[in-house]
């Protein structure tokens, strides 16, 4: 299963980014292969509609789950339409790896 996590840098050790639409990086993690890949968030540089731009990218990646600090109304609508699950970091989620672990342990907030 593919999850995408908003992050401040392109690595598993990177701090997560609690901003969704304007996070710098989106880290894609595949729980079946344990492979990961980082993408620059196309929303980060947009003057408007950053949440929709980031959401469109994630929809196009065919991710099943997106993990961030919070989701705006527009991004939420796009994810609902695409049946992509939205999960939120807990207060103790600090790195991308922890976000993955917390997802597997089902600790992330819904």
């Amino acid at each position: 299963m593919k999850l995408i996590i908003s992050a401040q840098n392109p690595s598993l050790e990177a701090q997560v980014d609690r901003r969704f639409g304007r996070c710098m990086w989106l880290v894609l993690f595949d729980t079946e292969t344990n492979q990961w890949e980082a993408f620059q968030n196309p929303g980060a540089s947009q003057s408007g509609g950053a949440g929709v731009a980031a959401a469109q990218f994630i929809v196009d990646q065919k991710a099943k789950v997106v993990v961030s600090g919070d989701f705006g109304p527009n991004a939420s609508r796009a994810f609902q339409a695409a049946k992509i699950e939205m999960r939120r970091f807990t207060d103790s989620t600090t790195t991308v790896q922890e976000a993955v672990d917390h997802f597997i342990q089902d600790k992330l907030l819904k």
Partner: protein, 310 residues
């Protein structure tokens, strides 16, 4: 007390009508927080990015501007333009005219251009391109009272909402780094895009109003906005003794709406005097009527923010 990683509370100060005293009150809050035996680390944001005044009172040192790049505007390459008019036919912003310097080509008025790029696609010659614009600068700076995030939108530019979002997010990340409990946001006037950006995700709205028909009219609109975004709000009346009947009307309105009125600050010429000296009123005139009343409002605000912590 809060746990280590919990998010800082965000306080947004709004008014609807401009000039009711948001910034003077925000500045006094900054000083009152710093002036305790054990000041809480706190972060301040001036979200009125096209009339940014908080820094005039908090007086940050060593300003290090960081560029803010907003949207793009369309530009025509006069070498490629064949003056066919396809661009102006699709422009809904009346932004495209014959070039005043050369009426054989079309020209896009950057002041009127909305950046939609419709003309780019309409041009048969590929003569129009979108050019990204630097629309301002933002700053993270140290003041005698804590860290300030503020910005300067270049005059006449769009995207003030995006700039507000940017400095608010920077402030929030920084607040997490220093384990600050609270981010105080001095908001813009009105109810439009920068206000919506400023109140997104905040925990408490403090509406600073004044006892006039105008103050009350605009208070209703800003309260409607805060409610729409589910931000709990309280009211304080500034210059409350200028028009007692107006103050009564606001008290009645607040009671009818079930909104707590947390303070009434009298008109005090010490407030503009402090502003001229570039200092919070609580620093220069701590015993003035206004300073005392602002102190009350600050205490109530902090306790409201902490009450909501549980």
């Amino acid at each position: 007390m809060s746990t280590q990683n919990s998010r800082a509370k965000q306080l947004i100060i709004l008014s609807g009508k401009g000039g009711t005293g948001k910034t003077s009150i925000s500045a006094a809050f900054a000083h009152l927080n710093a002036d305790q035996e054990e000041p809480r680390p706190m972060v301040f944001v001036d979200a009125d990015v096209d009339a940014a005044n908080l820094s005039l009172v908090l007086q940050p040192g060593n300003l290090d501007p960081k560029e803010f790049w907003g949207g793009s505007l369309a530009e025509i390459d006069p070498e490629k333009c064949i003056n066919c008019g396809a661009c102006s036919a699709v422009c809904r912003y009346d932004a495209i005219f014959p070039d005043p310097k050369n009426d054989q080509v079309q020209w896009i008025d950057p002041i009127a251009c909305d950046g939609c790029a419709a003309c780019v696609y309409a041009c048969p010659e590929g003569a129009i391109s979108m050019v990204r614009q630097q629309e301002g600068n933002w700053f993270q700076s140290n003041t005698p009272y804590g860290t300030l995030f503020h910005a300067e939108l270049f005059p006449g530019r769009e995207n003030s909402g995006k700039l507000v979002t940017l400095i608010k997010q920077q402030a929030r990340l920084y607040a997490e780094d220093i384990q600050s409990q609270c981010v105080v946001i001095d908001g813009p006037p009105g109810i439009g895009c920068p206000v919506i950006s400023a109140c997104a995700g905040t925990d408490l709205g403090l509406i600073v109003t004044e006892p006039s028909l105008m103050g009350l009219h605009d208070l209703k609109r800003v309260l409607g906005t805060l409610r729409h975004f589910h931000v709990p709000s309280v009211i304080c009346i500034n210059k409350a003794d200028i028009y007692p009947e107006g103050t009564r009307a606001i008290r009645e309105y607040a009671a009818a709406e079930g909104i707590e009125l947390i303070g009434e600050i009298p008109y005090d010429e010490k407030v503009p005097r402090a502003m001229i000296e570039g200092k919070p009123v609580t620093v220069l005139f701590p015993d003035s009527f206004a300073a005392k009343a602002i102190q009350e409002v600050w205490h109530k605000t902090t306790s409201l923010l902490q009450l909501q912590e549980d």
